[in-house]
């Protein structure tokens, strides 16, 4: 267990340093976002005092030390831009990202798995050929463009779905009405995200299945007279599961990273949009907090995947 988690711990430490120094390596200053239009009117002394207030005038290594010390106390700092505690900002947006990315991940994985398995089974057939062409096409389509297209179709041309946000901002809905409202707002962004991430799962499942479908045990299963559905799902798919699960876990790790582009297009209040806004504003504390959070979840899910492998596939226990 310890041997397994040690590399993850090292990765985490390295990531902490990168998360701290990388945003600060970007040219540009957060000053105009701290004091707004006044940035140019400040005297050099005033400018120094503003930077000092946020600890930005100290040498970088000293700032890093302070950051680590505060981090150990659970203090992620305050946003330079709107002055709110970073942890609060992250926690406010996390549920929306989990909802959007989570539903898209489940949809894309489920659909990709199913379509991939069938495409492999009927290799060269119409399902395989259209599926393959569709996957390549969707993969090549920028999600920004896809989102805009869906908005133009389902919100403007046929005005049936909302364009922006996670719920109706002014309606004080409760209970089921609120859930339905959230669901309606979820459809377009989740669909965009699903369509743009479907290709990966489809292709991986297809290739993994193609590898197993020619194995002797499949021939045996068929020879035993098992129904085809059982052959595909019980015998072939289970043995093709490893690369599929790996991809799923990788996707799960980046789940909280949100979907920067999709959240921005649909103005969905998730972590991806927060990241985009913090990067534009050189909001170092928010950037650090978010990157740390993303790192932690990627590391955690990778660890989980490694722990899951032996259980999923006994062969890896002895590897």
């Amino acid at each position: 267990m310890l041997r397994r988690s040690l590399p993850h711990l090292l990765v985490l430490l390295l990531a902490l340093a990168i998360n701290f120094f990388l945003p600060r390596a970007m040219p540009g200053s957060p000053l105009p976002y701290i004091v707004g239009e006044e940035a140019g009117r400040l005297s050099p002394e005033e400018r120094q005092r503003v930077l000092a207030e946020y600890g930005l005038e100290r040498p970088l290594w000293e700032q890093f030390g302070l950051y680590l010390r505060r981090l150990l106390q659970g203090d992620l700092g305050r946003s330079l831009q709107d002055k709110q505690p970073v942890l609060q900002l992250i926690l406010e947006r996390l549920p929306w990202t989990l909802l959007l990315s989570g539903s898209a991940l489940l949809l894309a994985s489920g659909l990709g798995l199913l379509l991939g398995a069938f495409a492999a089974r009927y290799r060269g057939g119409w399902l395989d050929r259209t599926g393959f062409a569709g996957a390549v096409l969707l993969d090549a389509m920028p999600s920004f463009w896809l989102g805009m297209l869906l908005i133009a179709l389902f919100a403007v041309h046929w005005p049936i779905l909302p364009v922006y946000g996670a719920y109706t901002a002014w309606a004080n809905l409760q209970g089921l009405a609120w859930l339905l409202d959230v669901g309606r707002h979820l459809i377009l962004p989740a669909l965009t995200l699903t369509l743009s991430s479907l290709a990966g799962m489809f292709l991986v499942t297809r290739y993994a299945m193609l590898g197993t479908l020619h194995q002797d045990y499949i021939r045996t299963a068929r020879a035993k007279g098992l129904p085809e559905r059982q052959v595909i799902f019980k015998h072939a798919l289970r043995n093709a599961a490893l690369p599929v699960v790996t991809l799923f876990m990788l996707n799960l790790g980046s789940l909280v990273g949100g979907a920067v582009v999709v959240e921005t297009v649909f103005s969905y209040p998730g972590l991806g949009r927060l990241l985009y806004e913090a990067a534009s504003a050189r909001d170092y504390p928010v950037l650090q907090g978010l990157l740390l959070f993303f790192t932690l979840s990627v590391v955690a899910f990778n660890l989980l995947a490694e722990l899951l492998y032996p259980w999923l596939d006994p062969r890896t226990r002895y590897a």
Partner: protein, 521 residues
Amino acid sequence: MRRIKGLLVVLLLLLGLGKAQQLVLAIPAEEGLLTPFTYVTGYPGYNLLSLVYDTLMIPDLNGVPQPWLAERVSSTNGGRDWTIRLKNAQWHDGQPITSADVQFSYEYYRRYPVVSRFATAVRSIGQIRTPDTRTVQISLPRPDANFELSTLADVPILPKHIWESVTDPKAHRNNIGSGPYRLVEIRPGQSYRFEANPNYFGGRVAPQSLVVVIIREAATTFQALQAGQIAASSRELLPELIPQFANNPSFRLLRGALFTSNLLQFNTTAAPFNQVAFRQVIAGLVDPKAIVDTVLLGQATVGSPGFLHPQSPLYNPEVGSYPRLSLAQAERRLDQLGFRRGPDGVRVGRDGQRLEFELLAPANNPLRLRAAELIARQVRPAGIVFQVRALEPNTLTDRVWPEFDVSKGRNYTLAMFGWSAPVMNQANLRGLFHSKPALGNLNIGGYANPTVDTLTERLVTTVDLAERKTLAARVQSLVARDLPFLTLWYPDATYAVRPSVFDGWKFQSGQGILNKFSFLP
């Protein structure tokens, strides 16, 4: 039958009222807790803030400061002593607004200079006295020509009874102000909701409820507007979208001038842009009118060589427009300056310097980027190469204006740049052109002219309008000759709104439609 008709009328009336009572408006980004210490952007953040808080004066629709929370404002002693008589007004919680609130606010912004954006606006104040509950006397050590605009009409007044115990203004969440709206709800990352202040001293406020939603992308904003999911936006329409909205009877378009400027900025300390004669050749080759027609589809005012917008009260019409040069004239002048054509057609100076330069342009601003490309094409036939380089905006600012401190120098030759409306509103010519970094804090090109220094110093302390006009006119003439930068255009903003939902919009000159007057009779 009659009863059914009656019911229908009532129903329609109710529906109509329901519509007029709530307005949904989109802004592009969050504005924090929307207190004077946490709002983020100058526009539209400050404009939303001013729906909740009031200032002693207010720029009217033409941008001229008028008494607002003040009943009258008078100044004596050459603009050094100011007396302000307050209106009989109250805070959202019903407490009266008194002179003590005014004194407290100005001193409070000074007490927390590093977290307040208004600290610079109150730093010229010497002493504040309150002879009675409705009179404030302010004395300035030096006359300040912009005191009305940049302080009295800009600094929000805070309720003393709420803020006097607050020691961490950044974290304070109370939004009690005196403005036409009360902020009643913030949904992080999503929206702000305002309700009309029924006792507002400025008149009856409409609509009753104002919902401000955050839509990050311009394209999404205009789709939402088209789909009827918002009724207006703080964003102006992109020029190519104007015909589409103009042809749709559900929308009304509001047009007006904005005071933001778009410049071709020279580094006047780097050869050959340190020579006025060379800058004049560039000015003769660049055609701002063609840029306005091609890039902005005519939706802009062509820049004045004296920087100030033709609608600015201090504008000098005598500066006219940039003198154009024919290609032959430009070539002759370049030859005279010693720049001869090299083997590849690009001119080379006597010292061997090729006339090939990097022109920085912001990657997030398609209009400035396209204008840069057009400029490069306009100067190319004369043997001058401008290589357009798109940079992330914050990175560009860092090269042009490192650390927002002109004394730190500059790291560019040419850049597409611009200033926000306050620079134009306050005619901040000293900031733009003075050669001393402490005074010319916006002089990012390193321009120096002793006569301009003297004139702009006088401009800052001259209160008399006629005298100010004379001084500003001379500065504009000198700048039009010296060309520290080329003023290319000022955008004309067009906003699309749904009049069936709300139609009270008023265009504030240079600022747009998001202002207090839009919501007042």
